[in-house]
Structure formats: C-alpha cells, structure tokens
C-alpha cells in the first residue's frame, strides 16, 4: 500500500512520475513524444469520470490479447486445450518471442468479430479456460520462461456448467499456481479487470494498467445490485468503487499506469503498442535480474502486503 499522505499535490506529482516511469517516457530512452502525451486538441483524460472510463474499457474496438500478441511478439506458438476436456478460446496463450527471448503469453480473449465474440463467450472463461492457463504457466515455470498476461474480462462465466466443473476451484488453483511461480510475471490490465476471473491471471510481480482500464471486485452493475438492490445505479457505483487506474495506483494495488492515445486505446492502436512494449520491456528487464527464489519472495511480499494497512487494532 502507498504511504498515506495529507499533501494532495505531492501525491498527484508522485503519481504523475510513476505513470511516466511505467510507460518509459523519460528523455533518455527515446520514446516518441506523440506516444507520450495526448494530442493538444484532445480532452485531457483526467477529466473523465469513472463511468466514462468503464465505457472506454468495454469499447468493442479496444485491442485485446490477440492484437497485443500480433503487434508485440514474434513467432507465436499457440498452446491450446486444458489436456483434460476441451479448449476454451476465451483464454489465449502460448510461447512467443519478446525482443528475441522466448516468453509465455496468456490473456483473456473477447474476440473481434461477432462470431469470435460468441465463440469466446464475450471473454468470460470457463473453469477449463483457467485450467488451460494453469498448464501453460506450469510449462513456463518448467522451461524458465517469463510470463506476460493481458487481462480483459468482465469476470469468470457464472453458468450452470461452469459451476458443475468447479469455477471457484479453477480460479483458486490459478491464483495459487501464480503465487508459486519462480519466473518473472508481468500482468497488464488492458480493459476490464473483473473480479476473481481477472485476478486468476493477474498475480504478477508487476501489475500494470492501461490508463482507461478498470479493475474491480465486481462489475459496477453487480455491485449496485448487491449493495443497493438496483443495477441501474451502476454509474454511481463506478464513483465509489475506486476502480480506475489512478485510484488503484494510489491504493497500491497496481504498480504503474500505461497512458493511452487521445480518445482511448482503440483510436490509435499502433501508438499504444509502442508504449505497452516499452513498459513491459522495462519491467521484465528489472525482474530478469532477480534470482528465482527472489522472484517468488517478491511476489509473495507484494500480495501479502495488500490491505495490511487497511486494518487496525480497535475496541470490540
């Protein structure tokens, strides 16, 4: 968790620094200026409401794991199937080269066309999808490949078969497995980070978020429906849930924010890919200096600290 500070301005400045650092936009590394900041005529993105960011995070043209793999990685070998029952296309993963070295890449796939979206169940994975991710991650651990995950799901599928096949167990095992890895893991929340279904791919040594991505315990609709018995109050829920990248950086849940082109990620994917590439390269370069036990310990410490400052001794 971040240190609590009463100085709002200092806090904002520190935030801006970390945003810049995460995107690799220092003067020395040669990141193109037009990638670094939105065009002058664009509305400054910091005036977007949380509800507007939710809308952007769900924008259909937003690049997903398939697009990121195509743009950022070479020689992608897709690993399919859970080795038990089926192949869930809503989880996409495999081996690829990232700046020359073999890595494992996995993400939630929503699909681009309507046919793909139906096949991918709109990005809501089944237990088999999570078990497929597990076996792909186990292979990465075996061969010492760094893992990069792209997270974009409204949540794990809440269906009848999913329950019969142990959706809860599949997510729990994914989280447990990610906690045990001794290879570098970088997770990028690219769109919707919805609930346990997102966390199952997001137990990374470093967790980054695109500027307009959201990450929350539940969809704003579900949240409003549970707390206020009224799903139509979703916009109101967005504001109290603290689900934007800025909120989550301040809460210490994520490590950095990757800025998006003016108007959102879907407006200029090429520009976005460059910034994402730089951000992942930077995190990997740091993590690859660490020993395998140190990577395990680093990840444990990171998640062990989550919420540690949210408790206190009180009178009961």
């Amino acid at each position: 968790m971040t240190e609590p500070t009463t100085d709002k301005l200092a806090n904002t400045e520190a935030l801006a620094e970390r945003v810049t650092a995460a995107a690799g936009m220092t003067a020395t590394d040669g990141a193109p200026a037009e990638v670094a900041r939105p065009a002058a005529d664009a509305a400054p993105t910091d005036v977007l409401t949380a509800a507007q960011r939710v809308a952007l995070a769900r924008q259909p043209g937003r690049p997903g794991v398939a697009e990121f793999i195509k743009a950022l990685f070479g020689d992608f070998f897709e690993q399919r199937g859970d080795r038990s029952q089926t192949d869930d296309p809503s989880i996409m993963g495999g081996i690829a080269r990232f700046h020359g070295r073999p890595v494992t890449v996995i993400g939630n796939r929503k699909g681009a066309t309507i046919e793909e979206r139906i096949a991918c169940n709109f990005g809501m994975a089944s237990p088999e999808g999570y078990r497929k991710a597990q076996r792909i991650m186990r292979a990465a651990e075996k061969f010492g490949r760094p893992i990069i995950t792209f997270v974009d799901t409204s949540g794990a599928y809440p269906g009848l078969e999913a329950e019969e096949h142990g959706q809860g167990e599949a997510i729990a095992r994914s989280i447990e497995l990610m906690s045990s890895l001794t290879v570098p893991v970088v997770s990028v929340i690219t769109g919707e980070g919805g609930s346990g279904g997102a966390l199952a791919l997001a137990v990374g040594n470093r967790v980054l978020m695109l500027e307009n991505a959201v990450y929350s315990v539940l969809s704003p609709e579900g949240f409003a429906s549970i707390l206020w018995k009224d799903a139509s109050r979703a916009d109101e829920a967005c504001e109290v849930m603290k689900l934007t990248a800025d909120d989550l950086l301040e809460l210490g849940v994520i490590d950095g924010i990757i800025p998006e082109p003016a108007g959102g990620a879907h407006e200029n994917s090429q520009a976005l890919f460059q910034v994402v590439d730089t951000a992942i390269s930077r995190e990997l370069a740091e993590l690859e200096k660490m020993s395998r036990p140190a990577l395990l310990e680093d990840r444990y410490r990171k998640f062990r600290a989550m919420g540690a400052t949210a408790v206190r001794r009180g009178r009961v």
């Binding site: 729990a172 109290v240 444990y300 989550m306 949210a310």
Partner: protein, 294 residues
C-alpha cells in the same frame, strides 16, 4: 460409547454457560422455524443439538466462537488478533458506522475468529468465519487474520483447519477485498509447499471470492450437509442462463458428486472426523521432512 456421550454432555453444558452473555439473550426467548421441515424448534432444543434440527437434520449456521467451542478440546483455544478491525480503506459511505454496530452486536472485530487450540490432544491452527458479520464477507481484516494464522501454522508446524462460510467479497472494501483472495491463497501455497496439512471445511454458504481462494485449496475437503457451495450465487446463475436451477444445485452433496469434496460430514461427527484425519497425517499432521525453504 458412554465416554463419548458424557463428553458431549460436558460440551453442551459448557456451551450453555458460554451463551449466558447478553448478546445471545434475545435468541433464547423464541423458537425457530426449521426452513427445511417447517417444525418450530425451541431454542434450547436446538442448542442442545449443536443447532441441527433433530427432526430433519437441517444444519443451522453456527457463530464462529460456538463452532470452535464444539470442535476443540475444552479450554484449549487461544484466540489471535481478536481486536483487529477495518480502517475502511475506500472511505465507503456508512461503512464505519455499520462495522461499529456489528462489533457491539456480535463481539467480533470482523467476520473471522482465528487462534490456536487442540483437537483430541493435537495442536492445531484454526479459524471459523461467522455469517452473523456481514454474511462473513472477506475484507482486509478477514484476509489479514487468515494470512497471519496460516503463517503462524507454518512457523509452528501446526496443521491448519479453516471452517469457511461466506457470501463472498466485502463489497464495501472493493478491490482491497479482491486482493485478499491472492493474499490468502499465496499464504496457503507457501504453507502447503513446506508440507503443512490444511483441512478445509465448507459450511453454509461458501460462495464467491472465498470459494475461489483459500476455501478450495484444502488437502482435505469436507463440508456440512446441505451447505450451499459455489462461485456464482444461484440468483446470478439463474439470471445468466434464464432458467430455474435444479433442486440441490450447488449443495454439498452436489459438490461431492462432482468431485470437489472428500466427504460430507454431519456436525455431530465433525470433531471425530477431524481427529481421524489428523491422526492419519502423523504426529501433528505435519510432514517435517518437507520444511525446507526453496
């Protein structure tokens, strides 16, 4: 046999003493209708039967401290972190007041009681969630107390037993609540990697983020009869698929049939089952040969 009955009678008497407090007084005055068979059950009769309906076997929820009382050896329980409370990490409107009211009403800091005790003479690290506290939803306090307990169990080479129950994530703690899934699961992973035995007991209801984290990660998975166990709640599933769910969907018996439990164990037999499972795992239930660090 007579010994066991005498022991049980002793426990019930002690339990009655425990219930003497003001917090439970209102409950004692009325009878409760069994939701399963519809019979009116006098509170005393229900208490005398570990809050299981004597006619149909329906298992009523059990407050965390009473749960530990009927499971652990008499007087062996030492509670850990009883005063840990939430700081309201999201500044959620109305939440601190709600917590204060529940603290006073339940005498609990939050929705879990953790501590050390003995079962049949075997030292264990043990936790029970309490549905009387915001449906035993998991926020920062539940996550932190469990992580501390699991780490303590690892350090002291104790077997770990967690009685889960939960409506899921603590909505008022938002993303901080979600992160407790990672924290508790990581702690279980580390404990397990060092050879620690974890017995997970699922009670009614165990759902959402608790099902999708530590509750599903037991070496041994047990549940109480009729407990609702699942990831998505029945209403959410019905909305998703647009039809009614079949009778018994997501019950403990359903989970046993689908391969997610080792056994469904009635409350009256839970203690003896735990004693048996602990004994089968050797002295203290810990494989001491695997206490290496990676």
């Amino acid at each position: 046999m007579a010994g066991i009955l005498a022991e049980r009678r002793q426990r019930l008497l002690a339990l009655k003493k425990l219930r003497g407090g003001a917090a439970t007084e209102s409950r004692r005055t009325a009878a409760t209708t069994c939701p399963s068979c519809g019979r009116d059950l006098p509170e005393e009769e229900l208490d005398a039967n570990q809050r299981v309906c004597p006619y149909c076997g329906h298992h009523f929820p059990l407050p965390a401290r009473e749960r530990l009382h009927i499971i652990l050896d008499e007087g062996s329980f030492k509670e850990l972190d009883p005063n840990l409370v939430s700081r309201d990490p999201l500044d959620f409107p109305g939440y601190p007041e709600k917590l204060k009211g529940l603290n006073a009403k339940t005498h609990l800091g939050d929705a879990v009681v953790t501590g050390l005790g003995k079962i049949g003479g075997v030292r264990v690290a043990v936790a029970a969630l309490d549905t009387g506290f915001l449906m035993a939803s998991m926020g920062a306090v539940v996550g932190e107390k469990l992580a501390r307990l699991i780490e303590r169990a690892g350090k002291s080479h104790l077997p770990l037993i967690i009685f889960s129950a939960s409506g899921g994530a603590r909505m008022q703690e938002g993303i901080v609540s979600l992160m407790q899934m990672a924290k508790t699961s990581a702690a279980i992973q580390r404990f397990s990697d060092k050879g620690g035995l974890y017995i997970s007991v699922l009670t009614h209801p165990t759902t959402g983020g608790v099902t999708a984290s530590f509750a599903s990660l037991g070496d041994i998975m047990l549940a109480e009869p009729g407990a609702l166990i699942g990831f998505a709640g029945p209403r959410v599933i019905e909305q998703t698929i647009g039809e009614k769910l079949p009778e018994g969907f997501q019950s403990a018996e359903f989970q046993l049939e689908h391969g997610f439990l080792d056994a469904v164990v009635p409350r009256a037999r839970m203690r003896s089952m735990l004693i048996r499972v602990l004994a089968l795992h050797g002295k203290g239930g810990v494989n001491r040969d695997r206490t290496h660090d990676r």
